[in-house]
Symmetry: C2
Subunit: 374 residues, 2 copies
Amino acid sequence: MTGRTTVSRERAERATLVDVALAAQVSRQTVSNVLNNPGKVSPATAAKVRFEIDRLNFRPNLAARSLRQRKANALGIELNATGRHRLGNIQDSFLVELTVAAREQDAHIITFAVEDYLEPISEYERLLATQMVSGFVLTNTRHDDPRPAWLRAHEVPFVSFGQVWDDPAFTAWADVDGGSGIAQGVRHLVAQGYAPIGYLGWPPGSPVGDDRRSGWVSATTDLGIHDPALQEVPPQDLPAAAAAVRSLLERVGNGGAIVCASDTLAFIAFQVMRDQGQRPGTDIGLIGFDDTDFAQEFGLTSVQQPLAEIAQTLLTYLTGAESGAVAPSRGVLFDPAVIPRRSTDHRSTDRARPAHKPVTTDPAGSRTQDGDSS
Amino acid sequence: MTGRTTVSRERAERATLVDVALAAQVSRQTVSNVLNNPGKVSPATAAKVRFEIDRLNFRPNLAARSLRQRKANALGIELNATGRHRLGNIQDSFLVELTVAAREQDAHIITFAVEDYLEPISEYERLLATQMVSGFVLTNTRHDDPRPAWLRAHEVPFVSFGQVWDDPAFTAWADVDGGSGIAQGVRHLVAQGYAPIGYLGWPPGSPVGDDRRSGWVSATTDLGIHDPALQEVPPQDLPAAAAAVRSLLERVGNGGAIVCASDTLAFIAFQVMRDQGQRPGTDIGLIGFDDTDFAQEFGLTSVQQPLAEIAQTLLTYLTGAESGAVAPSRGVLFDPAVIPRRSTDHRSTDRARPAHKPVTTDPAGSRTQDGDSS
DNA sequence: TTGTAGGCGTTATCAG
DNA sequence: CTGATAACGCCTACAA
């Protein structure tokens, strides 16, 4: 019995490792082994210990474990606080998937924000120094991103959702193959009978945008239907974008379709079409990217990123690093999937009519319940 | 010198309290006091200690502190993993604000998800038992919510974004005054010259929905322009909603306006209007609720919730509870604000035209930077 | 296979 | 106001 006898145990204190050891009539070491080194203890005693663990509802104190092991059991993720959430920003869904994946690896996710977007390191350093986290999950990586270099220099474990551009030697990243997603969209449209297929994207220069556009180029070229004139890459300005869309719609014409680099762009097209009395799907096919809520709500076919898979993969790198498993020899690109909806349904009237069957069917909705559509 | 001499300090270890004490030639206790009990130490030594703290870049190990104090320095927040994010769900923005507010109180936010929506307690219990968190921030409270009662019974600190319905004695919650928000919307529309003012909402029965509808009733009644016939509360079904909207638009007529219980509903109206060749703003005014990205993007006037303020207030309850400050005698309702955009601008053509001046101005955009509009 | 001893870095208690 | 002593609960040697 330790000095605990002096401290009166008031209401509902938690059982500790010692309590379990006492109850199971073994040393506290054995209990620890049952948890961390199963195999180093005989099945008989292990069973006895487990029984007591359950009976006493013992849970290892993670603060103590963290202190002893000199490493936290949590990962940090920087939230983009530099603006309200932007359309199609899948960061939020990713966070959910990351949280779920972390749970499976007995890790936790700690959110944080940096004050100065250009000087994020101090916050990373603080979290590490205080032993709140043992590593990080990066998102929104960019060119001249100071984070990867700093983390590597300090031997901090981290992974990245999004390619780490400046450091080819770093391979623990995963990203979505945007080009493939757009290409799938093109093929889906062609299979649905639309032609020709135009492209609506962003101005050249951004890696993501260029990647997506390349998917349109390659897919249409493969199919022998490439026409360089059928694209628009307007600046970030609604009126200008709307004008570009109007022009593109005209060139594509009824029976044709447009793949867009984002749901936002697709919705601009959506609006413009309705202005002109054209029916998305019926008259002209339309595909967005990111499968946002709005796409689901309004029947826009969209390209969906496999966020759960990505989150799981990334965390495997992070926790597996200890167990010998290391990151792959190069970053991984995940294939997104086209979620078909009314906007690529030729026969759809896209009008108020009861959704008979697959019209509103949504594969992603399988996890949905609850009804507050706020 | 402790037994540390036996352990060779390899690369870049962090300075500990002892290191600082040694350097400042005081006891480690004094260093601890400088941090936690300022005032119990003389200014002279305090300065000396602080100097060494800075010089050695000392940061208290939070795991050790947590262990010693038997309380974590983090709060848990349950993410809704029961479906992809829904339109207008402001949970994500709230999380960002919460993270920022927590930073100011030297706390951290830990996300988690529950496997079974109806049986969430076990996860709350686990987080508490492992001392990962010392309290919780509840969201999406509902009737027959098992969480508040359980947390109270176990004397776990928690606050709630959203009223806790089942327990009038619990007052540490904050919510948005939806009725006031809608009422403000009505007054804004009237001030802009629109009449009459219709309402588009959800079927009766939900507290949030009923609250918002009441704002329309009271505001129009106050202004002497109430007409019970000018409302629609369609079910959650796009075609049905569209039909209802068409009917409502007809009754309201050109020059009138509609306040909506959500941006989603507003967008349905948006679409229907364009189908019929009506211009939002120019012909009929339109206001949404939640100020989502889409509202910002497409010029929809919307009611914005003061999430930052709410997050700060809630965390004050939680951390202030120790310092004597307790929750108020009753929950707090925050007033949202109308963010005017083109959809309530009579003179707007809502057409492709260069955004001369305030057309795209967005108060919320002041914190925006970066340009990936994905 | 099991038990013993010690310390991770911090703060609380109590004596000077 | 300062300094010594004792835990917080766990894990990692090492010895039996």
